[in-house]
Amino acid sequence: MDTLNNTLLKVENLHVVYKARRETVYAVNGVSFCLKKGETLGLVGETGAGKTTTAYAIMRVLPDRTARIVNGIIEFEGYNLLDVPENLMRHGIRGEKIAIIFQDPMSALNPIMKVGDQIAEALKFHNKEDLSPERIEEQVDRTLELVGIQKERKYDFPHQLSGGMKQRVVIAIALVCEPVLIIADEPTTALDVTIQAQVLAMIDELREKLGTAMILITHDLGIVAQMCDNVAIMYAGEIIEIGSVEDIYSGKMQHPYTAGLFGSLPDLEKKTDRLHPIEGLMPDPTDLPKGCKFNPRCPRCMDICRNVQPEFTVEGTHKVACHLYGSGKGRGIDE
């Protein structure tokens, strides 16, 4: 479907497990998606859906002691990242081509280092072009201005900045090497609404200016509507619905879980008496249900859902893994 030269990142059939002493946690179970250059993909789901694990697998920063990538391909600019040796990953890719923005700006910054130095350090680590100290300084100033911080503030320590400013610094560190892909893991969850709006507006502007592709991990369907081109909804380690924002927000051919997520949100524009939450809880990731992972909570569950894992039903750019759609026999129409 996609023309190869335009594709930046292609994740195929990714499986990640965490091995604890007694049990195996199936965190990511066969995730596949594509990201084109300059595009923003929203990865949406609740706690335990496998969003962050997917992101960490792409960055190859999963904890070695417990996590294992069992299967899959992560193709980035034509190379399979899972085959790239660690030292190449560290010097050529992580932080340089793919950068990550974490949820909590406080713990992502070194409290005893001036913010300007922290940005410069990221740059020096990947200093391919042998930039002179003056050029590095210039670059730091430019990046700070880009994220809306006066360059004089580079001599401040993190505790002298407010939460929103700190997140801007974290974003500056991610941007300073001019990556082609940014993974933002709930970048505004720790911030207040008005500050969130500021930071989101800034990210949006930067993305347009720099043409960076982004994977935006969030649980907030409002942020997705505002920021993303494409959306993947995750549940229990799988993508259960993926498509353009128009596909997902149109409400047509909606996965019952996606419908449940929308039903859980109070509507600001209409008066609703009751919310329509999804009953029940996330399944235990060490003991996932057979068939469709959502079947125990699904209001439209059928017999087939309990036994057969649904495949994607495709309609243009919109793919849904649900037995309600397609040929209805548990088989997708794309073969």
Binding site: D192, P266, L275
Partner: protein, 332 residues
């Protein structure tokens, strides 16, 4: 103040269950006196819900704790069904708290990890010696668990075995077991996932219907507060800047801060996708040794000379709609 009282009279007349007059809570800090709650007044009629919204540091949680007298107020009065909470001694306060309970924000730190579920829910009954027999306690615990939707088999479970949603149900059951009239909900759903959040909100709303409860619902989430509240108070740096019936506030926000707050919510549909929201500049400050004047003025696009020098008072701009902003002073 008089005007605030007047606001309570608007709907069908009911006895106010809670009257808060000029409540103040200041904290001494190294940098100076922090005005966490500064001169807040409101009344709540029985069976109604007052939503309190604001961003972090606006004093909304301190307001809840001060009303419960978990922290001692610096000044002001709190009347619960006509009795002044602030001047009560320990013993009478304990009695008064039987009618007034609190649900806390963090479902992890707000319940004792060493107690089983049944112990947690029965503890309020035990410390107040409300039940004569063990059977009676067990019965009430079972009833509570049923009401909040906890399976009976969980009776002997411990909190760490349960997820956030179930823990928050325990918190609700614990608050309800004393059969209070009035509950302060301090961000009860902000630590939960959306689907679980909706479950908890539904429980709280059902309980309100069934038992005729009165809530103060403290939150930073405007869509949640609109859904659950009859009336909403918007707080900024310790002060109430706008107060109105829920519908009215969303249809017709007046205070520049409320407007900015509403504009900042990301809406989960594509209608506003390409319209850049109006973003307010600056960051929330600190109410340490504040000078008189509107505390929002440094971030406000409409700020003028008139905003400094003296605190804007809450004025009624429409029926039941109060705002503290010089732009609307004396217009009515």
């Amino acid at each position: 103040m008089e005007a605030v009282r007047g606001g309570a009279l608007m709907s069908e007349r009911k006895e106010p269950i809670l009257v808060v007059n000029n409540l103040k809570k200041y904290f001494r800090t190294k940098k100076g006196l922090l005005h966490a709650v500064d001169d807040v007044s409101f009344t709540i009629d029985e069976g109604r819900t007052l939503g309190v919204v604001g961003e972090s540091g606006c004093g909304k949680s301190t307001l809840g704790k001060t009303i419960m007298r978990l922290t001692e107020p610096t000044g002001g009065e709190v009347f619960l069904q006509g009795e002044d909470i602030v001047s009560m001694n320990e013993g009478r306060l304990r009695k008064a708290r039987l009618k007034m309970q609190m649900i806390f924000q963090d479902p992890y730190s707000s319940i004792d990890p060493r107690m089983s579920l049944a112990q947690i829910i029965s503890d309020p009954l035990k410390v107040n010696r409300l039940c004569s027999s063990k059977n009676e306690i067990d019965e009430r615990v079972d009833r509570m668990m049923r009401i909040v939707g906890l399976a009976p088999r969980l009776r002997e479970s411990y909190p760490h075995e349960l997820d956030g949603g179930r823990r928050q149900r325990i918190g609700i059951a614990r608050a309800l077991v004393l059969d209070p009239k009035f509950i302060i909900c301090d961000e009860p759903v902000s630590a939960l996932d959306v689907s679980i959040q909706a479950q908890i909100i539904n429980i709280l709303m059902d309980l309100k219907e069934e038992k005729g409860l009165t809530y103060i619902f403290i939150t930073h989430d405007l869509s949640v507060v609109k859904h659950i509240s009859d009336e909403i108070a918007v707080m900024y740096l310790g002060q109430c800047v706008e107060k109105a019936p829920s519908e009215e506030l969303f249809l017709n926000p007046v205070h520049p801060y409320t407007k900015a707050l509403l504009a900042a919510i990301p809406v989960p549909n594509l209608s506003k996708r390409h319209a850049r929201p109006t973003v307010i500049k600056g960051e929330v400050g600190n109410p340490i040794d504040p000078v008189p004047g509107c505390r929002f003025a440094p971030r406000c696009d409409y700020a003028t000379q008139k905003c400094t020098g003296r605190n804007p008072e809450l004025r009624e701009v429409a029926k039941g709609h109060f705002v503290a902003c010089v732009l609307y002073n004396g217009e009515m």
